[in-house]
């Protein structure tokens, strides 16, 4: 009750400081002197938002049901960890978290950019403050997390049990840091365009922020798909679901931006393109927020959201797009003297090619996500776009992308006159073709395009491994990230090709033989847990070498609200995951059992981590150099 009021009023105070900072910075920009008060007020703003967020967390911890958000999303029987994570597991709380990260990033920017020009800093501050004010208004007007309920309900409505998972508890905050980081890139880019400061130095400074957002976005997406794999029990990790696509699109854009900044830093080329990518990254993040939060993409299982939210974000999104386009067209003048001779065999051209490919993948994902919405509005026809669409459009281009990626990074800047180890590179290509042919021969399928795809990814894999043995040590982070990417593609492909599954109906005591393994349903056990009832099935799987492994898949029946979830039991080894999940069949003693063998599953997570580690190393180097 008290925390509720404190939270609300500090949120209002936060908005007030925002407006104050905005006005002060406009004044400072006009008179070209930085008003020192701005820094203290920025700190105050961060402080208010932090207080507001903490009070919401307190409301959740003490189960204060007079707060509407707590009432809708929490329950006294919930473990304390999920009470806390419930804070950002809902619409209102997640927006408050978004606001917290926004103000935190702005504050960090202010204290780390003291060496930059004053006008550039002030302009960044102004643009960032516009975004912050927009979000403050959004939270206060359409989705206030501190709505007061009277009379106070005795019990809350509970949190969706599917969301009660450690991976999902940390997934939104990490992803948000990535999303929100892109807002700072956006503001800084616009400021730099106005100040005509798009240059080597700018690229060097902004790259730190790009790296931070990229690392968090990468890890955030990974944690999300780990959650999908372990919790949803569908035995996959990526479903091309619109909500997933929405996080993939800014990632693709950021990756392109990251490479583009390299060219800008070394050669002062691709200036306009860098600006467009920075704007696009943030626009896509906002677009993602719009699609997820407006309820357009929501499944039928959720009650429709208040459309005023959607309209607000939509208008705000277009406002930002229009502002940034106006600034881009008015201020960005790429002068003729910037023109430099470019040779085809050079690093900058290969990075440009990489950008084209990434943009192609991005547009495939964007069209796949938005097309159903457009179609429904224009001709009132409902369709859903699934994996076959993405596979057909992405795979052919992925082959060329992989080959370019193996060759491009080793070219020199400006002009490559003599490609080293030509012979070796050709040999590697034939080796990977051979290996991939053998893999296909072994599993008894022959498919030309898949054989080429696997060999292309193997080729990248071999080439990136070779790079570790080359003498140039300076770019270690790139090597790790590229190696991580090749490993990721390879493990996804092998996982896709070599996976096998069987679905059967079994009751206690029955056996089933699948390939050379025997699945035996031994017994069932009922348990009462803190906030759910669990039914555990005991299974053994015996392979032809008499190795027996135990499986204990679980069904959880939650009381608040009444939902049944099935927890898969997954046995992970270095080379394959065995995955067993059971489901009830209504009014029947039989259970629906699904058994899957998924090779190289763990390598997907490891390789994504490697990607992020590469990013971290690069970040460390940059901060260290500074």
């Amino acid at each position: 009750m008290l925390a509720n009021h404190i939270g609300y009023y500090s949120l209002v105070m936060g908005l007030a400081t925002s407006i104050l900072i905005f006005l002060l910075s406009l004044k400072s920009y006009k008179f070209k002197i930085i008003d020192k008060r701005i820094f203290s007020i920025s700190f105050l703003q961060l402080f208010f938002v932090l207080i507001s967020f903490t009070s919401l967390v307190i409301c959740f911890v003490i189960s204060d049901f007079s707060n509407e958000t707590v009432f809708n999303n929490s329950h006294t029987n919930k473990p304390i960890f999920y009470k806390i994570s419930g804070t950002w597991g809902n619409h209102e709380g997640s927006l408050l978290l978004w606001l917290l990260v926004l103000t935190l990033f702005l504050f960090l920017f202010l204290i780390t950019s003291k060496k930059e020009s004053k006008r550039y800093r002030i302009l960044t501050l102004i643009f960032q403050q516009v975004i912050i004010i927009g979000f403050f208004l959004f939270v206060l007007v359409t989705s206030n997390p501190f709505n007061y309920l009277f009379p106070e309900p005795i019990e809350g409505l509970g949190l969706n049990p599917i969301l009660q998972d450690p991976a999902l508890a940390i997934h939104p905050p990490i992803l948000y840091v990535g999303y929100v980081g892109s807002s700072l890139i956006f503001s800084a880019t616009l400021a730099a365009v106005i100040e005509n400061y798009i240059s080597k130095d700018w690229a060097k400074n902004i790259k730190i922020w790009v790296l931070v957002s990229w690392i968090f976005l990468t890890i955030g997406i990974m944690v999300g798909s780990i959650w999908a794999y372990y919790e949803l029990g569908w035995g996959g990790f990526w479903f091309w679901d619109p909500v997933e696509n929405v996080s993939l699109m800014p990632w693709l854009c950021l990756t392109a931006l990251l490479h583009c900044l390299l060219v800008l830093e070394k050669r002062e080329l691709l200036k306009s393109w860098t600006i467009i990518l920075s704007i696009a990254t943030f626009t896509l993040s906002m677009c993602g927020t719009f699609l997820v939060r407006s309820g357009i993409l929501n499944s039928v299982h959720t009650f429709a959201n208040d459309p005023s939210r959607g309209i607000f974000i939509l208008c705000f999104l277009f406002f930002l797009i229009i502002i940034s386009l106006i600034i881009f067209f008015l201020f960005n003048k790429e002068k003729q003297k910037d023109y430099k001779k470019i040779y085809f065999f050079s690093k900058e051209v290969s990075i440009l090619v990489n950008n084209w490919f990434l943009m192609y993948f991005l547009s495939v994902v964007l069209i796949g996500t938005l097309y159903p919405i457009f179609l429904e509005v224009l001709i009132d026809h409902k369709i859903s776009v699934g994996p076959p669409f993405y596979n057909k459009l992405i795979i052919p281009f992925l082959i060329f992308f992989l080959i370019f990626m193996s060759l491009g990074p080793n070219l020199k800047w400006i002009r490559e006159t003599n490609i080293k180890h030509k012979f070796q590179l050709i040999i590697f290509f034939f080796i990977s073709l051979l290996i991939s042919f053998l893999i296909y021969k072994k599993i008894g399928q022959t498919n030309l395009i898949n054989t080429v795809l696997v060999s292309a990814s193997l080729y990248l894999f071999i080439v990136t491994i070779r790079d570790f043995f080359s003498k140039e040590l300076y770019n270690f982070s790139k090597k790790i990230s590229h190696f991580g990417f090749s490993l990721l593609i390879l493990s996804i492909l092998l996982n896709g090709i070599l996976s096998s599954e069987v679905i059967m109906n079994l009751k206690v005591g029955e056996k089933f033989t699948f390939k050379n393994e025997k699945i035996f349903f031994k017994s069932l056990e009922n348990n009462k847990k803190e906030n759910y009832q669990s039914i555990v099935g005991y299974f053994t799987v015996e392979d032809n070498k008499k190795n027996i492994s135990q499986f204990k898949p679980e069904l959880r029946i939650y009381d608040q609200p009444l939902v049944i979830t099935s927890e898969a039991d997954i046995k992970t080894t270095l080379f394959k995951d065995k995955f067993l999940v059971m489901n009830t069949i209504k009014g029947n003693e039989y259970f629906n059992v699904r058994y899957q063998i998924k090779p190289f599953m763990i390598w997907i997570w490891i390789s994504t981590l490697l990607l992020a580690i590469g990013g971290c190393l690069n970040l460390y180097n940059r901060l260290y150099e500074k």
Partner: protein, 173 residues
Amino acid sequence: MKNKILIILLVFFLSFCFFVLFKSLESSGIYVPEKTENRELTEFVSKDLFSKKKITSSEIFQGSDYYILNIWATWCAPCRKEHPQLMELSKNSSIKLIGLNYRDDSKKAKKFLNKLGNPFSVNITDQNGTISIELGGYGIPETFLINKDKKIIKTFIGNLNNESVRQINLIVK
């Protein structure tokens, strides 16, 4: 010159996107699930929108051959869209229409009904959204066709259109 064409094209493209996305907020489409039919109606207690008196489901569902229960709210754009269809259904004397006002401000709800007409014989409220969950509602607006044995015989998820009115009239006849 080239730049100008580019800008004009961009403006057109952006306004088109804005228009479509704006429209998409309104359209919710209609979906009739197969499984939820012939389900027994759960008992519930609610408050009357106008008199604020408590009213039980057995009091509501009596004295008619067919009932239509419509979940609506003033903030729901598709609900406004389906209002004429509900008004038309209210002319059919063998159906009793019940409006369940979902998570709404009751003042706004009354104003809405006064302005656009009140098709419902009974107006009940669902302040915290629990009754709709109990009834097995998927989204809003949602309409249940219920027979005199208190069984849900058809569910319409999304706003009603002329086709759904025709279907309802066919069943009720």
